[in-house]
Symmetry: C2
Subunit: 301 residues, 2 copies
């Protein structure tokens, strides 16, 4: 059973209308949006990642989903597994969690702490509730809309390679370990855009999801993918470097669809267009590029 | 680090006012109450428990926290771990989850599905959101209040022994595997009571928590603990049998403090009284009973 197959089966359960068919990053309930993410040791983070960075990432990935809805974080719930003999890890996690909560001005609402067998991988869950959200859906792109992305793409993917041992600059490692959810940009953009989501699994796969949800085709120009100076120094900016950036996960930038004549309140880069049809096409400086076999991280449902 | 110690440290983080100092079963946010529970395979349930019963229990334990607030379930979020080669377990879990959602008229709002290494114990998290809740606190008991409990006590603890292999009646096993959160009773009682919580870890430890939170002493008469006919047949009704019932977990009945002259809309049994002071005292037919070394399950924070 894959995550996608399981998700398909979850859709047969009694769903709340605010679940949006389990086809969005966040649920709606009253004036709130809700999102939850689970991180598994060895799957979503490396066992060697510093615990404070794991805490940061756990909060940041959830707040990134709120950012895509233009929401203000109202509070979070933490489900934390204690392993015996790991007091140092717990201390460092809590210190990083406290720092991240303060940084993003997000209070703790509650949670559950449980004991885990000593040899078990940690499974960390955080649920975030946001308020005052215009909540643009993932499915709202219109034919003729431009596809935009905030910030730069590929830095976190490069940082993962550095975390795994490849020598590289600290700025890229930090992009992987301490992602910055675009809360302010999300709030500014949400009332103007037709569709928005965060880039968690990679620009190519996430753009394809937005197009699918919207019932449209999307074309991406890889030459337009915004790369940081650090990324260009580290990986270059040729087609393979651009494909690597566009298929790496964990960027937590905002991907959105907007009318071509909209005046945007934040800096963002046009990387594609939506058209009538279905599927995704990639080009690079005018030439077609075959879709890579692995268009992004698919470990998350 | 114990769960209680970790919880103490969580209280030093930036807390939402609705977190009530992390001293209650549910958080308040706007017109909603929120609660979350994590079940760990081998800790909160047996690896041999039927998957459909695990799903039922995961939902029921959370809805029981909503029941203690007098809330109506608005929806739930499920964080589910997939293990490879466990498709049969996943199918049976989903079937039981569908049945439980329908039974408790509770829709799915969202969640997250992740992949777990094949050898790792499952860690299941559910978050429940309730609405229209009078939300009596755990801390509202007043000196002179009577301590009540709904239903009968000890059945689930006896059922756990049966699940572990001791021969015994199916009704007790069902009490352990398919607990019934007292949602209707909770809604009827919530406007009338001074304090309410669900019995998740045992009457003695949970009553002590209510007394502590309320800044009072509580005295429990073990002779008054309501036992089912099945429990009496299985364990008897002498002091050891009553102590076992009052210190076993997973009953998911409602424990509440109420003025002596209140007219109750549901059946419940008086098992104690609150007085000025602190601590808990146990008696049995007028004689003092020493507090047992292990007053209940303490695996949950």
């Amino acid at each position: 059973v894959t995550e996608a197959e399981f998700l398909q089966r979850l859709r047969t359960l009694p769903l709340h209308p605010g679940a949006l068919g389990l086809r969005d990053d966040a649920a709606r309930l009253g004036g709130y949006v809700l999102t939850t993410d689970t991180l598994v040791e060895g799957v979503h983070y490396l066992a060697t990642d510093p615990p404070g960075d794991v805490a940061w990432k756990l909060l940041a990935t959830n707040l990134s989903d709120l950012a895509a809805k233009g929401a203000r974080p109202a509070g979070v719930l933490l489900n934390y597994p204690l392993r015996s003999g790991a007091a140092g890890w717990d201390d460092a996690f809590l210190a990083g969690f406290a720092e991240a909560l303060a940084h993003f001005d997000t209070p703790l609402l509650g949670g559950d702490t449980v004991s885990l067998p000593a040899a078990a991988p940690r499974v960390l869950t955080l649920t975030a509730i946001g308020e005052d959200a215009p909540a643009p859906p993932r499915s709202g792109a219109q034919a003729g809309d431009l596809l935009y992305v905030t910030g730069t793409i590929g830095d976190a993917g490069a940082g993962l390679a550095i975390a795994r041992g490849e020598p590289g600059p600290a700025a890229l490692l930090a992009a992987y370990r301490r992602p910055q959810p675009r809360l302010a940009a999300g709030r500014a953009l949400a009332p103007l855009v037709h569709a928005m989501m965060d880039v968690s699994d990679g620009v190519v796969i996430d753009a394809r999801r937005m197009a699918e949800a919207s019932g449209l085709a999307v074309a991406i120009d890889l030459a337009a993918i915004p790369l940081s100076p650090e990324y260009r120094d580290f990986r270059g900016e040729d087609l393979p470097a651009r494909l690597a950036a566009a298929t790496a996960g964990d960027d937590y930038e905002l991907l959105f669809a907007c009318a071509p004549d909209a005046a945007l309140p934040v800096e963002a880069t046009v990387i594609g267009t939506f058209r009538v049809g279905s599927g995704i096409t990639l080009t690079h400086a005018g030439s077609p590029v075959p879709l890579p076999e692995s268009p992004g991280y698919q470990h998350r449902a």
